[in-house]
């Protein structure tokens, strides 16, 4: 499987470490009323779809960047690769 790194170009997936569902970017607010429920959900429950899946990959053997990879879990086909930082900012995070 080849991951097309937005800065470094195509890289073998074995350079990366899989870090789970991209929804993990959005850590819940620990001070909120429903923090307990939200953290159980965040820590343990997953959508686990068969088909398109947004997921985090860490370029451990490379530039140590975090990527959001959109990949089909049935075919291993990769539709898009973005820097996790850009995705997080676009989705409302300030850093």
């Amino acid at each position: 499987m080849i991951i097309d790194h937005p800065l470094l170009g195509p890289r073998d997936a074995s350079e990366f470490v899989y870090k789970g569902d991209a929804a993990l970017i959005h850590r819940p607010d620990g001070m909120a009323e429903d923090a307990l429920e939200a953290f159980i959900d965040y820590g343990y429950l997953r959508d686990n779809p068969a088909g398109e899946h947004r997921e985090l990959w860490f370029h451990e053997q490379g530039d140590r960047s975090w990527l959001v990879v959109t990949r089909n879990t049935l075919t291993h086909e990769i539709a898009s690769v973005e820097l996790a930082r850009d995705v997080a900012r676009r989705e409302g995070r300030n850093k």
Partner: protein, 416 residues
């Protein structure tokens, strides 16, 4: 029809014209007391024990393809009970005891072979850990035996004990562990369940649940609506996809695990060997092929096939302990979809929907658990209370901080 030596001789002399089908190809009725979704090892075992031991009737097993075509047909056939934690060890030891009596119980040759499993030790820390594990096993009634390097060398002379990188410093053996013919497990349970009146319905995919006032009424299938008092999901690999139709999210990710078999060789490997330093396990099939595997691929996948980096990693692990493996050709490889739960342990529990039950999250340890999983799930279905060996396998253990984290990896399913 019961199988026996006399029957084999009689059929041999009469041209094998008297063998009937081992189970009926049932057509779905309008409703059942219990519907089990998934005709794999666990689903068929559940149906068998539910009918035979818990005296329930009007049971159907719904399978979207053909029975035994999922993970029970895609594994490395190893049985063992060398676990450490209190929540696990009694359950897997119960399973091993059921394996030991399985063929008599089912009147079916499942080729249960207690050829022994050996976990190799490569460091002092690993020896301490395995001594502790062996003690935990014996406290729970299992057998464990600490072997020295000399004893291992005597049994497995070809092992690479000299290499300074992975010196073999001993091993933890469970002589009652071994292998079982995986297809025969599914077929034996199917035949046993059928003989006790269970309807096994193949080519019948569940497409939805009918849920009214928080209680399940039945399932929508590709062969029409089927009503049921209780519906039990047992579809490891597809658990998230099936339970999503009931509106549930699970503490599960699906990952692919690859396994491999070499060309047929003369007998070289009497038992099962696991290589703890590199994660590699291997046994020799009765046909002579070396059957081996290693880590999961480690990212979500429903593809039932793997990728090359893991093939390379597994082959390296194998070469590190027995270099002669490099002379054998790799005949074929396959990938199964693993229900990786967040702590590496399974779930057998009721759900928040009345009458809807769940069994899954077996990670890559589902095959050895087949009999106990079926028995415990049948116990839960019949009595609404967990079986005594499966009390820890509840959904709420994550919320309560009571994870059964055998590998100490936390909530990282790709690391278990």
């Amino acid at each position: 029809m019961r199988y026996s030596g006399w029957k084999v001789i009689k059929e041999a002399l009469t041209g094998h014209r008297g063998w009937g089908p081992a189970w009926r190809d049932a057509t779905p009725k309008a409703d059942y007391d219990t519907i089990i979704i998934g005709g794999g090892g666990h689903g068929l075992a559940t149906a068998y024990y539910l009918a035979k031991h818990f005296k329930q009737s009007r049971i159907a097993v719904l399978e979207k393809g053909w029975i035994g075509g999922g993970n029970v047909g895609r594994n490395t056939t190893i049985i063992r009970s060398n676990y450490l934690l209190d929540g696990n060890e009694p359950f897997y030891e119960f399973s091993l005891k059921l394996w030991e009596g399985l063929e008599q119980e089912l009147n079916y040759n499942a080729m249960v072979s207690q050829r022994g499993i050996l976990n190799l030790i490569h460091s002092d820390a690993q020896r301490d850990a395995f001594i502790r594990r062996g003690n935990a096993m014996m406290l729970n009634g299992a057998d464990a035996d600490l072997l020295t390097t000399a004893q291992i060398k005597e049994r497995y002379p070809f092992l690479n004990t000299e290499d300074a990188r992975f010196p073999i410093k001993g091993g933890l053996a469970q002589h009652r562990g071994g292998t079982v013919r995986h297809d025969a497990v599914a077929w034996g349970y199917a035949r046993g369940a059928d003989m006790h009146g269970v309807d096994i319905i193949q080519n019948c995919e569940v497409t939805g649940f009918r849920i009214e006032d928080g209680a399940v009424k039945g399932v929508e299938t590709t062969r029409g609506y089927i009503g049921a008092k209780k519906v039990a999901s047992c579809v490891a690999g597809s658990s998230s996809r099936v339970m999503e139709k009931a509106g549930m999210r699970l503490p599960i990710e699906s990952h692919v695990l690859q396994a491999f078999v070499s060309e047929g060789l003369k007998p070289v490997l009497p038992g099962v060997i696991t290589f703890g330093a590199g994660h590699f396990y291997c046994s020799q099939s009765d046909k002579g092929g070396l059957v081996f595997g290693g880590d999961i691929d480690g990212y979500n996948s429903y593809a039932q096939r793997g990728n090359l980096p893991v093939i390379e990693d597994v082959a390296e692990g194998g070469m590190a302990i027995f270099p002669m493996l490099g002379r054998a050709r790799l005949l074929r490889m396959w990938g199964g979809v693993m229900d990786m739960s967040m702590d590496g342990s399974p779930i057998i529990d009721r759900t928040h929907i009345d009458g809807l039950y769940f069994n899954g999250g077996w990670c890559y340890g589902g095959f050895k658990a087949t009999p106990a999983s079926g028995f415990a799930y049948a116990h839960l279905l019949a009595t609404d209370t967990p079986h005594e060996t499966a009390t820890a396998y509840r959904f709420d253990r994550f919320a309560r901080g009571r994870m059964i984290d055998e590998k100490g990896m936390g909530n990282q399913p790709n690391l278990h």
